[in-house]
């Protein structure tokens, strides 16, 4: 094999022996043109600096920037997601996977009968179009302004429900816990529940 290659190369001319013709080189530009070019450099010295020292400095995005998703909670801590899969249905990139689950008295995660048991968004596929947010019937899914979505492993970019759930705020109890006494799922959707009721705390949840 190597013989063959050598033989083939040996027939070729030496690169240094190839003749070349002289090309006419352009001379220096007239002084007026040079001054015009340097003026651009000079004038930008006095403009406002656009460089951001990312990641030391993080500039805020526009308020409606499409960033990472968030699964919201009702004011008492119950999840808003009901596992209906409409977001997955709406997704043009097939980035969302949802499995519904049955709310039982011992495992009430959202108001009503149904909750999202599995909720995954694949940020390798997501195109941040926001159609899922539009599809969500309970306003469970919204988008945050968080844009730092890069990682070194593909698996890490499939976000699970725990990664997407909104943090517990003041007055919220971590589900599972029962619904607010005397309230139905309709009351929840109408915003009648303002905070968790003490009786909603499950054993060891205080």
């Amino acid at each position: 094999m190597s013989d063959f290659i050598e033989k083939k190369n040996s027939g070729q001319a030496d690169i240094n022996s190839v003749p070349f013709s002289e090309v006419e080189q352009p001379g220096p530009a007239p002084l007026a043109q040079q001054a015009k070019g340097f003026w651009v450099t000079f004038s930008s010295m006095f403009k406002k600096n656009q460089t951001v020292q990312y990641p030391d400095v993080k500039a805020p995005t526009q308020p409606r920037f499409h960033g990472r998703h968030q699964l919201n909670r009702h004011p008492d801590g119950l999840e808003k997601c009901i596992g209906c899969e409409l977001c997955a249905w709406a997704c043009p990139a097939d980035a969302i996977y949802v499995e519904g689950g049955n709310n039982t008295p011992g495992n009430q995660l959202s108001p009503g009968e149904r909750h999202g048991a599995v909720y995954q968004i694949n940020y390798l596929r997501c195109i941040f179009c926001g159609l899922c947010v539009e599809a969500c019937p309970t306003r469970a899914l919204t988008m945050t302004n968080e844009y730092e979505l890069a990682d070194d492993k593909r698996e890490k970019l499939i976000f699970e429900k725990e990664d997407l759930l909104a943090p517990l705020r003041q007055g919220m109890l971590a589900p599972p816990h029962p619904m607010y006494p005397g309230m139905t799922d309709t009351n929840y959707y109408n915003g009648d529940v303002k905070e968790a009721h003490p009786s909603q705390a499950m054993n060891g949840d205080k």
Binding site: G83, G101, R114
Partner: protein
């Protein structure tokens, strides 16, 4: 839609004009159906082609004009049959009909909750779809909707959400007209009208799943599919049911490699659009966590340890090579797998010792199968045209539910006469208003002999006929005398296919008798072997006896449960003694004593076909991918290669192709030698003759892991006659103890119509596993006392 009319009868055709197009349909066709023929879709909820018209939902309103005279108002097209000179204008051409339909839709939606996101029907919901196609885009109602408690369990597996119901009465009509289980009905009136069950009487129908499937809204949902998936996530595969010999067409819906639900397919000549709850919901055994995934080999210490495939195949080949070996396939094999076993026995093991019947059998039955059943074709269509159906050792609802539905349809539509020779009255006989010929166990043959049938009658005989000596002979004699057709209905899905594939000691593939030299030459030539063993093979009980007596050394066992065999402890002892190669999907009593265990694919994971009781092929593809394609036939082929006698059946399609090329036997059949009947044993005092059959929903292996289904099992009861109840001093509900030398069963008693000498128990129900506890099932004398 299935029509029972004979094709020879000329059908009067009527021509009508629908939306300006002419269409000719048979007299009596409903307008909505005639429109379908033109491809015009009229929205509907209550209309179902297999149920009687009711006009409950009013969604299908159209403008109708006959002989130039128009109806003053739009009419429900699902209740009006076509008439000559009829002009129909649907919503497509008549603004009046369109407005009427939109109005009806608005009223139906008036109380329908907007909970589509949490509703299981969302995405495949006729109400959703038709509200989009034939409804207003905006609602004008802003009041409160009617609320009910949601959902309520009307049985352990069917949930009812009354808010969503549009009162189409499909479910109640199905239960009443098709299943004859009128456990649900419409209660109350007006806005409060709702589907309900009778107080304290749940919807314990064997066919309740069909109501979930035909519900046009999400009012009825199945507990096991609740909130599991959306229809657009599911990958659907046409499949066939593996649970009984009815041969239902099915659809298997899979999400992420897991079967989530199964639905009845539409096959007008077999199951129409129905199936039974077992077929619909008993599929969790496939995903049970204890599935075998790796081959197991028994090591020198006597323990089963995981092995590689080459290792396991070598161990199996070493144990079988040069040994006197037999094959037991079990009744759940596909046709292709059965053919693989059949060829494996003859070519790789050089024996005819093969039997697919893992149950109580008789040589009389085997002769009957070879002489009359192999290659025969009694069909559901024959039931549709029969004048009289005789049921012998066959309880249709429990043992082949779709046969029951077909009998029931013919009984309801045309008063089909049904006669049952049985030891006990049953619910199905009651529903069919069957003539119940009450006999003592083992006395069936005498009763069968005297029944008047004609050439248009059908005798449906079940596999339990093998338990009464002379019963198959009596059936054959009756058929010969009267010209009636015989339909043999085994319980398991694979039995008919296994018979045709020759997985029986006296039969070669295609119904060729082993005793016929020409048939043997035929097969030997096709298989490229020198000869086929001439000695007719042993039956399953003889194989086990031969293993006990050390006349056989080894056995290859397919899906057999030792507890289905007549003497289960002796059978297990025989298997323990022999070298056993077991092909199984999950650990069983056989794998526990096996020397080599080879894991195989379950039905949803492989392709193949079953032959139902008619002999009709029910093909199916793999619904769930199994990377190893471990169909039994492929593994047998590898094992045969390891033995040095290849059977060259590397795939299911290769087996199917080879089997179909063999064709059916057109030569002489085995001549049937009648067997004389034995008389019922005499009983006295607290003795009784045991009789039993299996319930549809019981402790069956393929029903494991489905608790919702188990909740609708019929109660476990022992049945005795009023006379015996008096004698013992017991009344319904009290505990009865049935015992013999092997053990005893204590269950509540039910006093019913049964022969005075007999006691009936369910054969394999909870607390009543006759073959395990008593090692007896039919015809043996037991002691019956109050517990």
């Amino acid at each position: 839609m299935t029509t029972t009319q004979e094709s020879a009868v000329a059908v009067e055709m009527i021509t009508v004009v629908i939306d300006g197009f002419e269409v000719s349909v048979p007299k009596g066709t409903l307008v909505i159906r005639a429109a379908e023929k033109l491809g015009i879709q009229i929205p509907r909820f209550c209309d179902h082609p297999l149920l009687d018209p009711v006009g409950a939902c009013r969604q299908c309103l159209v403008d109708i004009e006959i002989n130039g005279r128009a109806f003053p108002k739009p009419q429900a097209s699902c209740t009006i049959p076509v008439e000559p000179n009829m002009i129909v204008k649907t919503q497509l051409t008549s603004p009046v009909a369109d407005k009427a339909q939109k109005g009806v839709m608005e009223l139906l939606l008036g109380n329908h909750p907007l909970d589509c996101p949490v509703c299981d029907k969302g995405g495949e919901c006729p109400l959703q779809n038709q509200a989009m196609s034939n409804g207003h885009a905006q609602t004008r109602l802003d009041g409160y909707k009617r609320l009910f408690e949601k959902p309520i369990n009307i049985s352990s597996q069917v949930l009812l959400d009354r808010e969503r119901c549009v009162l189409c009465a499909r479910c109640t009509r199905f239960s009443d007209q098709i299943a004859s289980d009128p456990f649900i009905t419409l209660n109350e009136r007006g806005a409060l009208q709702q589907v309900g069950i009778y107080e304290k009487d749940p919807f314990k129908s064997y066919f309740s799943g069909n109501t979930v499937q035909i519900c046009p809204v999400g009012a009825l949902t199945g507990a096991s599919y609740r909130f599991r998936a959306r229809p657009f996530d599911l990958v659907s595969t046409p499949s066939a049911c593996e649970h009984c010999a009815s041969g239902c067409d099915m659809r298997t819906d899979v999400r992420r490699g897991k079967t989530l639900r199964r639905l009845a397919g539409d096959d007008p000549s077999v199951n129409e659009e129905w199936n039974c709850d077992k077929g619909r919901w008993a599929f969790k055994y496939v995903t049970a966590t204890d599935r075998l995934t790796q081959p197991l080999v028994r090591n020198s210490a006597g323990e089963l340890v995981t092995a590689s495939w080459p290792e396991a195949l070598a161990a199996a080949a070493a144990g079988l090579k040069g040994k006197r070996a037999a094959v037991l396939t079990g009744g759940r094999v596909t046709l292709e797998d059965a053919y693989g076993y059949s060829k494996f026995a003859r070519v790789a093991l050089g024996t005819n010792d093969i039997d697919y019947r893992a149950r109580i059998t008789s040589d009389e039955e085997r002769e009957f199968l070879a002489a009359f059943v192999a290659g025969s074709s009694t069909t559901y269509r024959d039931i549709d045209s029969a004048d009289h159906v005789l049921l012998v050792a066959f309880e249709p609802e429990e043992e082949s539910p779709i046969v029951f539905l077909r009998l029931n349809k013919n009984f309801k539509k045309r008063g089909l006469k049904v006669t049952a020779v049985a030891t006990k009255q049953s619910i199905a006989m009651d529903k069919l208003k069957a003539d119940f010929i009450k006999v003592a166990p083992l006395s069936e043959p005498a009763a069968v002999a005297n029944i008047a049938l004609t050439g248009k009658s059908i005798i449906l005989v079940g596999e339990r006929a093998s338990e009464s000596a002379g019963l198959f002979s009596a059936v054959a004699a009756l058929a010969a005398k009267t010209g009636a057709k015989v339909g043999y209905i085994p319980r398991r899905a694979g039995e008919r296919g296994a018979l045709e594939a020759g997985a029986l000691g006296t039969v070669l593939p295609g119904g060729r008798p082993v005793s016929d030299a020409a048939a043997r030459v035929d097969i030997a030539a096709a298989w490229g072997v020198e000869n086929i063993p001439t000695q007719p093979g042993r039956s399953s009980s003889d194989i086990l006896a031969a293993l006990t007596r050390s006349e056989l050394d080894a056995v290859v066992v397919g899906g057999v449960d030792a507890h289905d065999l007549p003497e289960s402890s002796a059978a297990l002892a025989a298997l323990k003694k022999a070298f056993v190669v077991s092909l199984e999907i999950a650990p069983s009593s056989v794998t526990a004593v096996a020397d080599v265990v080879l894991p195989v694919a379950a039905v949803t994971e492989k392709s193949g076909s079953f032959l139902n009781w008619e002999g009709r092929a029910r093909g199916f593809d793999a619904a769930v991918a199994d990377s190893l394609h471990r169909s039994d036939v492929r593994i047998l082929s590898m094992l045969a290669d390891a033995l040095g006698n290849p059977i060259s059946l590397a795939s299911v399609s290769a087996a199917a192709r080879e089997f179909s090329q063999l064709g059916k036997w057109d030569g002489a059949r085995i001549s049937f030698t009648p067997v004389s009947a034995t008389s019922s044993p005499a009983v006295s005092g607290d003795q009784a003759i045991l009789t039993s059959w299996r319930r549809l929903l019981d402790m069956g292996t393929l029903q494991r892991g489905e608790d919702n289904l188990a909740g609708t099992r019929r109660p476990t009861v022992a049945v005795i006659s009023p006379k015996r109840a008096n004698q013992i001093g017991i009344s319904s509900g009290q505990q009865l103890r049935i015992s013999n030398s092997h053990g005893s069963i204590t269950i509540p008693v039910l006093v019913e119509d049964i022969h005075d000498d007999a006691v009936w128990i369910p054969r394999n129900s909870f607390a009543s596993q006759a073959l395990v506890a008593l090692e007896a099932a039919h015809g043996q004398v037991v002691t019956v006392v109050k517990a």
